[in-house]
């Protein structure tokens, strides 16, 4: 697996779309892998009782998927420095989460990608990921 180098990335570089089917298995397995046992992430009845239409992704997973989205593109040697996410609509089981991203800043060794994760209800997560690449 190769990693992009600094000279291969510039402001305006576009990350390929990543689309994830949010099956109940994805929602539940990621909630448990992130040690988040809040019922709204694994118990449909519990989620409905709280006013949600179904179980939905937990935030630790959103952060993990945002990270994965960037490293899927950069390759394994990139070092993630910062992930800033503004949370929007819930990502419910049965929906599809699609990430898009663009490089918006290059400051010294650090690159910043603007990332947007959309579901059918709108923006689930928008924000930035800052990382460094091998020279």
């Amino acid at each position: 697996m190769r990693t992009l180098t600094e000279d291969q990335v510039e402001i305006g570089s576009v990350l390929p779309e990543l689309s994830i089917d949010l099956t109940p298995t994805v929602v539940v397995s990621t909630a448990l892998a992130t040690m988040d046992f809040t019922p709204v992430h694994h118990d449909v009845e519990g989620a409905r009782a709280q006013g949600s239409k179904d179980i939905f992704l937990n935030i630790l997973t959103t952060m993990g998927l945002v990270e994965r989205y960037v490293t899927d593109w950069t390759g394994p040697e990139a070092v993630i420095r910062r992930i800033n996410v503004k949370l929007g609509v819930p990502a419910y089981a049965g929906d599809r989460l699609s990430f898009n991203g663009t490089i918006v800043a290059h400051d010294g060794a650090e690159f910043t990608a603007e990332v947007r994760g959309k579901v059918s209800l709108g923006d689930h997560a928008t924000g930035t990921v800052t990382f460094t690449l091998p020279q």
């Binding site: 448990l32 952060m63 993990g64 994965r68 899927d72 420095r81 949370l87």
Partner: protein
């Protein structure tokens, strides 16, 4: 759980005092992670995320976005490790702000953590902002910061986290419209009143006063002249420095109409809309209630009253002074 229909002065002051007190505690250390950074949890996490990046397991480091995972509490021990945030959230729940949606999560990774390291979290409550009107209902934004320390006591990762704690509009809400969370468990059940005042920076002092049971009239902070409706500039001296005074809450009917038609959402016609002259020297438009429209006349003495129109909105209305 209070039955208060909206934030009262006591609620707001108590919340602020608690928030200040919790913030003053500074950074409070939590319980160290149950397990050191380990391969099985990383492998499980990568598998669930669909992350095929081989670098983590090859190099013996954890994916940085796992920072929080290491110090999550288990199924049975949830809630045992208390942080300065818990008291604020509990008090917001108690005041009826039972809905919650996370709005921001910002993480900075100082370095990747290695297999075998045991992390310790430390939490600092950093602020409470509100009450604010939001699409989900009236609420407060609570912000806190968590720092994870390695065994040499150096910070390895930091997080800023912000949630909106809101008063759910009604019980059987179909779910938060714009949020990621678990709202809709609060009390309530009143239908939202369909007409809502436009609250701006010019007028928010007035509506804050209404929530506190005060009729506030804008005043010029330079020449002292009162004006209503509120505006950005004093018509007398053109100063933009503003203040307000609290009116006595009495007035007389300067003029009025009885509204019969067209229908107004949330209202049953006929109803009275009056221009009420205050002894302080300004006139305010408001409804006259608790008396038949034909009993209303110019010069009639009124006093203000505050009525909850739904679970959230309070309007100042006018009633005959004798009543």
């Amino acid at each position: 759980m209070t039955g208060a229909p909206a934030t009262g002065v006591t609620t707001d002051r108590e919340l602020r005092e608690l928030a200040d007190k919790q913030a003053a505690l500074g950074e409070v250390r939590g319980v160290p992670a149950a397990d050191p950074v380990n391969t099985p949890m990383i492998r499980h996490w990568l598998d669930a995320m669909g992350d095929s990046n081989p670098a983590y397991l090859e190099k013996g480091v954890a994916p940085p976005a796992m920072a929080q995972v290491w110090t999550m509490q288990g199924v049975r021990s949830r809630g045992r490790d208390r942080s300065p945030v818990d008291d604020v959230l509990a008090e917001l729940d108690a005041q009826g702000f039972t809905g919650v949606v996370a709005t921001n999560c910002e993480q900075t990774y100082h370095r990747y953590v290695r297999l075998g390291e045991r992390l310790t979290p430390a939490t600092r409550f950093s602020g409470l902002a509100g009450p604010k009107r939001t699409a989900l209902g009236e609420g407060y934004f609570a912000t806190w910061n968590v720092t994870w320390y390695g065994e040499a006591d150096e910070p390895v990762a930091e997080m800023m986290f912000r949630v909106l704690k809101f008063r759910p509009r009604k019980r059987a809400a179909p779910g938060p419209q714009g949020g990621q969370g678990e709202g809709g468990q609060g009390e309530g059940g009143r239908r939202p009143y369909p007409l809502r005042p436009a609250v701006s920076r010019d007028t928010e002092f007035f509506w804050e006063g209404v929530r506190h049971g005060e009729l506030r009239v804008q005043s010029c902070a330079d020449c002292g002249r009162l004006r209503h409706p509120p505006g950005p500039v004093c018509p007398a001296c053109r100063s933009t420095n503003r203040s307000y005074v609290t009116a006595a809450g009495e007035g007389t009917v300067y003029s009025y109409v009885v509204h019969h038609h067209p229908p107004v959402p949330g209202r049953t016609a006929p109803f009275v809309v009056a221009v009420v002259e205050l002894p302080e020297g300004v006139r305010i438009v408001g409804n006259v209630v608790d008396c038949p429209p034909e009993a209303v006349g110019i010069g009639m003495s009124l006093r203000v009253t505050y009525r909850a129109m739904d679970d959230e909105l309070i309007l100042p209305l006018w009633v005959p002074r004798e009543s």
